[in-house]
């Protein structure tokens, strides 16, 4: 017997059903096969992160609707009984809470959603072989109710989880032992739980300690208790997971009265974990891997449902496109690389990060690291950056950053800024990979001046016909490094006995110093008069900040502006230095400083308005942070500065050969003000008259 479908999906877990659902919605003819009859159980923590919740809502899943919202992740240190609470990373849709839905319910629900959308579902169907023809996969051979059948399909989607043999046959064997782990779980009762995900470190003791964690998640009447680990970069050894789990239960019972009477109500079941998502190995002629089969698991937390749902949606997009055109599935790899740009790097940091948190038990392990700046009253980039790092997702741009607005005015300028920031990340990565990941996140900041120095260098080099693009790039990189170093050093927060913040501050100081060192390294490749001018700017930046920090009473009262603005002088010095570097006269250089200073002040003020009215995710600043003045006053100042800069442009010395590049950056400032105005719903009438000449 043989059948024909556009797409056959092997496995009816979240990844498979998501793929089928999104394809069926687009009118594609989809068959999902699974060896089980649904509903069925699955080894999982049953926890759905905010990202998974969003993806499920997009599929209209009903099972999440009634499930209780879990706002907190509580991380326990079993070695000393301390804990720390952490929130989940908020999604772009604004979801902040996780939910718990047992997989037996969730997978059944998703299966029904796919069928309701028009997909065909064959339970109790075992795939016996891939149908390979002409060098590609053209469907599968299955055994359904004991009858052999051939299912032909233009695309075969493998969603059989991490242990499946079809996926392995297609992608080849695992390359790194560090990419493999295992997890076990069971249900239990007679436990008092709070409405939070509880996670426990360390797992194992002494030399038997492993890079993993135990968990207790509330699941209605019962709890889901489990443990999992990755081999990481630990020396090769046999790990007895059941023994590890038994020890975990003993430790749990001893840890708290809440768990003393814990009674298991289901058998302990286990499954392998595979990280190591490699986009190029996830597709081929007529086939795709999604979810766990693709290695789509968070390398730190081992969360997999969000990845399953997201990779399913990405696969459906790519397949739909391919069916309409040339049947090539390369768009899928591009989609994966875009969605998880750091996955490959992350899995190498993972053991390192884990080793770090595991050893520093004062840091309450992962929790303190993730939540380490939770107590940062003044905000700071480290907590969100680390949490983001652990979330293994591409950062989002607000569209309000300096770089975004300059890029909108001129592709060339945008390209230069990007190249400078990418180059800087690469240089920092070579010294300290974690810092480069933090910076990757920080650079999406809406309020910081990141990108402005590079914009100044780009425009001045062009305007003055500079002939050394490499020196210009090094200057821009040094300036950007300083802005980043200062940003991190300026967010080191005050301490108190209740909030010692030792790790938050230590890391911020070390990372800030490291970036400063990198800055000096780049800077000192330039001629000394240029460097001298820049160092005067950096001295002034620290001086202004110090004077303000000495008067904490100014913090929320008479304070004139945020730390971000301190770098305005440096940026202006950078504009002047770029002109000198391009061979301009002292007169031109002085004019460049005046022009740059007006624009930098404008951007600093816009940054303050953004921080005050919208907040800044990348710096962990909530909105409504006061700088002692009304946002509209600051906004008007920004506009005034930008207009002055535009006026200065008309007075540019004749030696400036190409003022067009300077106009680009000047316009970009107005563009940023306009964008911000529309974000805030302010009357664009402010700009209707345009810049006064």
């Amino acid at each position: 017997m043989s059948f024909r479908y556009d797409v056959v999906v092997v496995g009816a877990g979240p990844a498979g059903t998501a793929t089928a659902y999104h394809l069926a919605r687009r009118g594609r003819d989809v068959l999902v096969v699974d060896r089980d009859v649904f509903p069925r159980e699955k080894v999982c923590g049953d926890g759905l992160t905010p990202r998974a919740v969003d993806a499920l809502a997009a599929m209209g899943a009903t099972s999440i609707a009634q499930a209780p919202r879990i706002p907190l992740l509580r991380i326990w240190d079993l070695s000393n009984g301390s804990s720390v609470d952490s929130r989940f990373e908020r999604t772009s849709a604004g979801t902040e809470s996780a939910v718990i839905v047992p997989r037996v319910v969730l997978d059944h629900d998703l299966c029904q959603r796919a069928v309701a959308a028009g997909a065909t579902f064959w339970p109790r169907t075992v795939v016996t072989a891939l149908e390979r023809r002409d060098g590609g996969v053209r469907g599968v051979r299955v055994l359904r109710d004991g009858v052999e059948m051939l299912v032909e399909a233009a695309v075969t989607v493998i969603a059989e989880g991490s242990a499946g043999r079809l996926g392995r046959a297609l992608r080849g064997p695992d390359r790194f032992r560090a990419d493999v782990g295992y997890a076990v779980r069971q249900y239990a009762t007679d436990v008092e739980v709070d409405e939070c995900f509880e996670v426990f470190f360390p797992l194992g003791s002494g030399d038997g300690r492993v890079a993993g964690y135990g968990w207790v998640f509330p699941a209605g009447e019962t709890v889901n208790v489990g443990a999992g680990f990755f081999y990481g970069d630990s020396p090769p050894r046999k790990i007895n997971l059941r023994g590890l789990y038994r020890d975990f239960l003993v430790a749990l019972r001893r840890h708290s009265q809440r768990f003393a009477r814990l009674v298991p109500t289901s058998p302990l079941i286990g499954a392998p974990l595979r990280i190591g998502l490699e986009p190029e190995r996830c597709h081929g002629d007529g086939w795709l891997l999604v979810g766990d089969a693709a290695g789509g698991i968070n390398p730190f937390t081992a969360e997999g449902i969000a990845y399953g749902l997201e990779t399913g949606a990405l696969a459906a997009n790519a397949i739909d496109q391919a069916l309409a055109t040339d049947r090539r599935l390369g768009a899928y790899a591009a989609g994966l690389a875009g969605a998880y740009p750091r996955h490959t790097n992350l899995r190498f940091y993972y053991p390192r990060l884990f080793g770090f948190v595991e050893r520093n038990y004062e840091a309450v392990l992962a929790g303190r690291l993730i939540g380490l700046a939770d107590h940062h009253r003044r905000g700071g980039p480290i907590r969100p950056a680390l949490r983001h790092l652990l979330s293994d997702h591409a950062p989002e741009s607000s569209g309000l950053s300096v770089a975004d607005c300059v890029a909108a005015e001129a592709d060339g300028a945008g390209g230069f800024i990007r190249a400078v920031l990418d180059g800087l990340l690469g240089d920092v990565r070579a010294v300290e990979p974690l810092v480069s990941e933090v910076l990757r996140y920080v650079r999406t900041s809406a309020s910081a001046l990141i990108g402005l120095p590079a914009a100044f260098v780009w425009s001045m080099t062009r305007a003055c016909a500079g002939r050394d693009p490499d020196a210009a790039r090094r200057l821009a990189e040094a300036l950007e490094l300083f802005v980043a170093a200062h940003l991190i050093l300026a967010t080191v927060g005050p301490t108190s006995p209740e909030r010692p913040r030792r790790y938050a501050n230590s890391l911020a100081l070390l990372w800030g110093d490291l970036l400063f060192g990198q800055c000096m390294r780049q800077l000192f490749t330039l001629p000394d008069p240029i460097v001298g001018a820049i160092l005067d700017g950096t001295t002034a930046t620290f001086g202004v900040g110090l004077a303000r920090a000495c008067e904490p009473s100014l913090e929320d009262g008479r304070r004139r502006r945020s730390e971000v603005g301190d770098c305005a002088r440096l940026c202006a010095a950078g504009a002047a230095a770029a002109a000198s570097l391009a061979g301009a006269s002292p007169e031109v250089s002085a004019w460049a400083r005046a022009w740059g200073s007006q624009l930098a002040e404008a951007h600093a003020a816009l940054g303050d308005v953004i921080a005050q009215k919208l907040g800044d995710r990348a710096l962990d600043l909530p909105p409504a942070r006061s700088f002692g003045r009304q946002a509209d006053t600051i906004f008007m100042e920004a506009v005034a500065h930008a207009r002055t800069a535009a006026g200065l442009l008309a007075l540019a010395p004749h030696a400036v050969s190409d003022p067009a590049a300077l106009e680009v950056v000047t316009r970009a400032t107005m563009c940023r003000a306009t964008r911000l105005g529309s974000h805030l719903g302010a009357a664009p009438a402010l700009f209707a008259a345009g810049p006064a000449a």
Binding site: V492, Q522, F524
Partner: protein
């Protein structure tokens, strides 16, 4: 020391130079800077710079003082940040900046000091020095990061420990000796020798510091005994004690590490175990080997009073550690 090289008097000018560099128009900033300059340290790095400067043409004393001030400023900046990380109350007999003012002030003050140091280095107008300085700052930071990343790591290898202290401490000493020579216009062969000596001496300096941290005889001006151990920084005496094939090593291993509950006099016990397992003697003989390396690095230099002084620095430091351990 028998006869001090006359150039050493230049070290006395360094403090005044530093103070001059830290003058600031804002009274608040000026107060912080004055506080920092009020308690100069032992100038060991400045001494290296000044001794290094004797190997040139002898015409650049002002540059040597400026270079020494730059090194001291960079060191001071790193101390201000270190004290935040160590949660130290005092520095050089005065309240630490983060105690006297606040942590945010200490953060920016450290940055300010490093910036001033950079300006001084830039003003020496020497590309060799400028390049070397950029590398040095990065080295010091990455060494400190390595240290914090390896906190509570019982599996820390000796190689990794050496790599850490070569960056954390050795790099600035190497720069100090080098910049003295370079600022004094010494030829390449001599600055290279000075750099090698400085790196080895800095490493030795750190190991001996680590030994004195265990014996608690680092003097009242510094930290209490076992400060590193308490913070989970396992230094050479501890690592060597952990490797020793004796029962004390096993007991020490059980006492340290992340799963241990800290209680009672665990720190005193751990320090005693480091001694019992022979960690101090083993670290001292390692220090002696590095001391020999430092002295042999001096071979290309002429047999001047400065060279003798550099050799004596090594011997004096080793003698101090021997006394700490109670060895002849």
């Amino acid at each position: 020391m028998t006869s001090e090289p006359s150039e050493l008097r230049l070290v006395n000018d360094v403090d005044a130079f530093v103070l001059e560099q830290l003058a600031h128009h804002d009274p608040q900033v000026q107060r912080i800077n004055a506080h920092l300059a009020a308690a100069p340290g032992k100038h060991i790095r400045a001494i290296l710079v000044v001794l290094g400067s004797t190997y040139g043409d002898g015409t650049r004393t002002r540059d040597a003082v400026a270079a020494a001030a730059a090194v001291e400023l960079l060191h001071l900046g790193s101390l201000v940040h270190d004290d935040v990380m160590d949660d130290a109350d005092m520095r050089r007999g005065l309240p630490a900046v983060h105690r006297r003012w606040s942590v945010p002030v200490a953060s920016l003050s450290g940055g300010y000091l490093c910036t001033r140091a950079s300006s001084l280095v830039n003003a020496l107008h020497d590309d060799r020095i400028r390049t070397e300085f950029g590398r040095t700052v990065t080295s010091v930071c990455s060494g400190q990061l390595m240290e914090i990343e390896n906190g509570h790591n019982l599996e820390l290898t000796e190689e990794r420990y050496h790599a850490t202290i070569e960056r954390k401490t050795g790099a600035l000493f190497a720069f100090a000796a080098f910049v003295g020579g370079a600022a004094g216009r010494a030829p390449e062969a001599r600055t290279a020798a000075l750099r090698a000596y400085g790196g080895a001496f800095g490493t030795l300096f750190q190991i001996l510091d680590d030994i004195l941290d265990v014996t608690g005889e680092a003097g009242p001006a510094t930290k209490p005994a076992g400060n590193d151990l308490r913070r989970g920084t396992y230094t050479l005496p501890v690592l060597l004690a952990l490797r020793a094939p004796v029962p004390a090593a096993r007991e020490l291993r059980a006492l340290l590490g992340p799963t241990h509950h800290r209680a009672g006099d665990w720190l005193q016990r751990a320090l005693a175990l480091v001694r019992a397992a022979g960690g101090l003697e083993a670290a001292l003989s390692e220090a002696r080997r590095i001391g020999e390396r430092a002295v042999s690095a001096l071979a290309p230099l002429p047999g001047s009073s400065a060279t003798r002084a550099l050799r004596e620095l090594v011997e004096a430091r080793l003698a101090q550690a021997c006394m700490g351990i109670g060895q002849p």
